[in-house]
Symmetry: C2
Subunit: 597 residues, 2 copies
């Protein structure tokens, strides 16, 4: 029996469009002779629908569309379609108002409905906000059309992420796959919307391999693809046989559809089409960011992007990503030199624009700087040049970029990296401006690594050797490398005052990024970070800078998430608070002596 996996890229909330995507996929699957087709979690509304789920009209429309999809399905094909539906007993018995559901459509009708059991509520996930967990064992028998009946276990995304053997701990009390084994299913399907983070696919494959092998059951994992705001879904749907080997794999970072065959004599899946996994972390990140920009632009209705080009490495990388996402003809670079800009920053940016083949404009900001000086003179006379004046420059640029974006309907991409967003080395309403923070989850050291990888990949392509990139990242240009070498080698500088470099204010980026990873990703204490070899004063400084920059992060554009912990929907820190754990946590001394001794 053939089973198709439809790795779809839905638009959040676009029920009619997503229904059509499912129907188109179903037609292709039926034509390929499939008996069953899998679609991702919540495939009818896209994941994550967030607070659209609070609208009763949206929930009602979802059911209408589901029934319409069912009525138009090819008669020979059964399909699993994800949707949200009311929890009818919520009001009488208590509980959340909805289920995260999966409908089995067969014979033109909804035959069965399954409910997701394990509801992630951490990081970017808010499923307890909307959904009641299902408690039934989700399985069904499917007539294969050849006189057999296949016994299929249904899991929805997180339902498979609680294997206590693999993780060495439990996240939820229950393990749905163990219960499916008890009822004797032949195979398990997993309908997912699992967002990309760095090297997550390797983890998924190890984990699913462990589960398939442990329970001696094939697993068919269908993942959503495409980016929705800050979340990038990488697809990479896979099929594992009962030994836990990956026997089929879909494309990463693009829609895909493929079939595998279940052989009931062997009680196992046969090998199917297998796209090679992306081996290189930089290639993976690159593809993720390109998809993130492309889908944000497309799903918001933009075809053109504008980027401020400083001559530095961050804007260079973002411009290269934008070109790969939208095409060189659809990217405008704007150079906005000030009297503090070095000569090379203009020539470097021009070289970059030339290398990428994008249009660029030069708009000097000296006149506007003088205008602000003059305008503010009555208030500022007698004060020293300082952060206020530095920020004015950045905000002039931000204003000019937004003016161009507004005038021509372009999407402004902001270029700040994760390191500077962490410590607040960025100007709110200035260089933070934009609809999307493309590399806001990429630390500075990784920005360098990505650019070096990009250049090496490009050179390998020009030399005709094998590229490690999954798809050609850059349209052909005449330049030897997309990122001019000078941009990679000069010391990073905001150029907001004469001779300024980042390391005047910050520790070196290799030190900073290690401290930040420990603070942000690993939740390490100052004591632990010092124990890893860092200087107490530096760690305290970083902690203090981070805490004080929270108000900036709160107003940042959506940040494309590529790590376990990004500054976005999954980062929920207080602002008016005291979270500078700038001393070792033990012993903690009260601020003043207790009043009662």
């Amino acid at each position: 029996m053939k089973i198709a996996i439809a790795q779809l890229n839905p638009v959040i909330g676009d029920l009619a469009g997503n229904a059509q995507r499912i129907l188109d996929a179903a037609q292709a699957a039926a034509a390929a002779g499939a008996r069953l087709m899998l679609t991702p979690e919540l495939s009818l509304c896209g994941y994550p629908p967030r607070d659209l789920l609070l609208r009763p009209d949206f929930i009602a429309a979802m059911r209408t569309h589901l029934d319409r999809v069912a009525a138009h399905m090819p008669p020979t094909l059964a399909v699993l379609v994800g949707f949200a539906e009311p929890h009818p007993e919520a009001s009488d018995r208590g509980g959340k108002p909805l289920f995260n559901s999966m409908a089995l459509i067969d014979g033109g009708q909804v035959q069965r409905i399954f409910h997701k059991q394990l509801l992630p509520t951490y990081d970017v996930f808010d499923e307890d906000r909307y959904f009641e967990p299902g408690r039934a064992v989700n399985h069904f028998h499917l007539d294969t059309g050849t006189g057999q009946r296949l016994h299929i276990g249904v899991t929805i995304c997180e339902d498979l992420w609680n294997d206590e053997e693999f993780w060495g701990k439990r996240t939820y009390p229950d393990n749905p796959v163990a219960r499916l084994k008890e009822v004797g299913v032949d195979l398990v399907v997993n309908l997912s919307a699992s967002p990309y983070t760095a090297q997550k696919q390797a983890t998924r494959e190890r984990m699913l391999g462990h589960i398939a092998d442990r329970f001696a059951m094939p697993i068919l994992y269908a993942n959503q693809v495409g980016a929705n705001d800050d979340l990038i879904f990488d697809g990479s749907s896979i099929v594992l046989n009962r030994q836990g080997q990956v026997v089929a794999r879909g494309q990463a970072f693009q829609p895909d559809q493929f079939c595998v065959t279940y052989d009931d004599t062997r009680a196992d899946v046969e090998p199917g089409p297998i796209t090679p996994a992306i081996a290189d972390l930089n290639a993976e990140l690159w593809s993720a960011l390109v998809l993130g920009v492309r889908d944000y632009a497309r799903k918001c209705g933009f075809t053109q992007a504008v980027i401020g080009l400083s001559g530095g490495i961050d804007s260079a990388l973002v411009a290269a990503i934008a070109v790969a996402a939208l095409g060189a003809d659809h990217v405008l670079g704007v150079l906005m030199p000030s009297p503090y800009s070095s000569d090379h920053s203009v020539t470097d940016a021009q070289q970059l624009a030339h290398a990428l083949g994008i249009r660029h404009e030069i708009i000097p900001i000296g006149t506007l700087m003088a205008g602000y000086d003059e305008t503010l003179h009555p208030l500022f006379a007698g004060t020293e040049f300082g952060v206020a004046e530095e920020n004015i420059q950045s905000r002039i640029r931000g204003n000019l970029l937004m003016a161009i974006a507004n005038k021509f309907g372009y999407l402004l991409l902001s270029t700040g990296n994760k390191s500077e967003m962490a410590v607040g080395y960025c100007t709110l309403y200035g260089d933070m401006n934009g609809g999307l923070a493309v590399i806001g989850d990429v630390p500075k050291t990784r920005v360098y690594a990505l650019c070096q990888w990009l250049n090496a990949t490009r050179q390998a392509e020009l030399a005709g050797t094998q590229s490690t990139a999954p798809h050609a990242p850059i349209p052909a240009t005449t330049a030897p490398t997309p990122i001019p070498p000078a941009i990679l080698t000069k010391p990073p500088s905001a150029e907001l005052k004469p001779g300024q470099v980042d390391q005047d204010s910050l520790p070196s980026y290799d030190i900073l990024d290690d401290i930040l990873e420990r603070l942000v990703q690993r939740h390490e204490s100052v004591t632990e970070i010092i124990a890893a070899g860092h200087d107490l004063q530096v760690v305290n400084q970083v902690m203090r800078l981070m805490a004080r920059a929270e108000f900036k992060r709160r107003q940042a554009p959506p940040v494309l998430k590529v790590t376990d912990r990004a500054f976005g929907m999954g980062w929920r820190m207080p602002i008016a608070s005291c979270w500078e754990f700038t001393q070792p946590a033990e012993p903690v001394a009260p601020r003043s002596q207790p009043s009662i001794a």
Copy 2:
């Protein structure tokens, strides 16, 4: 037996400071002869601590501080202190890593620990993100010191918000108070951090009255006070007797502490001090917003605020709030007229500054507008004046205000109202700039009502008659009214082009605000809104504007929440999506014909 309620205003994460607040309150309670003192939910870390809870060092430090508080407690006083602690079985058995706990301290030690059972996970609440629900019945016996033992039931905030009789439905399967009745407690205490929304105290008093009467048990409700980012906690702690009558009430919107006596012969609480409830919605909102600004400034370390004064009603109200929060000497108004500004906008703003007794500066922006025109001429030549040029003006003002804020260390308050944030009638990086959106949850029609109330209250004060305000809102000035009447009567205008008024682009505010309340608060469908008498085209226009403005709201400052549904932490909508339900929801037509007929 005397029981004290300590209505505290913690700083989020400031464990040492909050511990000291608890100890100071305990000293006063012991001096007043209390045997037991109640503190609010999570009183040691403040509510909501958000992702600080993900830091193991923070959790460990909390326990250290708890033990220190216990060791320094007056020996005659038992105290309930809120804190977060690890769920020790989470990893082995599954479940969330923490409990939302309440420690009973007596005799210098932690004697018992109770766990919150009902964990709100909706709107601004994310408790399932962190906490495992408690499952035990929370009660204890306390030696009264006079030979009796009082049997006390413990509930934490939401634990009391699931009375199916009162609400006509269940939100959670369990009702902890019913279980406390079964074990025969004498009274129930409720330790809360219940955020303010308009008229919520009236609802709380009705609900708690119903529960006390239903189960014939007194209830002592201790609420947090103070604002933390977007959330304002109003205090208003109350004590209800077993008939459900309010017999004691603390101050609204300020710290307070009071005692009531439990009479074990009558098995009821005796009447205690009772602050009158705030009867007027405008007075309530005013006090909430003043506290919101005061605490945000104080807890972030600001003493001075800066506000752009347009001569319009929104900035007038925000300035009046800032004066009440910080004092007239601590507020700077900045007038930034453009060539499109009407004469009266400057004189109105000057009159306002005079009436409020605040310093003001006038900084014309014409030179900078010309500077942007000149700078952008190479790109914009031949295009029409439009939204880009309008936004430039707003962004010049936003940049000037931020320059002043940065230069002098002031807090910039943004002045946009909820109606304009809803439909996007505001400029990102322009008038939306600020650390706090003071009236971002106040619809335009309510802005008018508040200003009218303010003027009437002020006039009543000047006439020596009774004010409806709970505390004098405005320091004495020489002006007859704080908001000059011209500001209340002229048509609203952004003044970004000649002769512009808001109603060129928007429906009248009474219509707009009613549609918005139905869309935002009540989740009504277009069909329902039309059935209420609105025009389909207008409703569709509003829906479309709302959807398109999501990217602006995502980058807005924290919005002081005063309604059930504010644009802030509790508003989680997708951006790159399709949520314009601009047609009646039934029937829903697919975008194109299904491919399979």
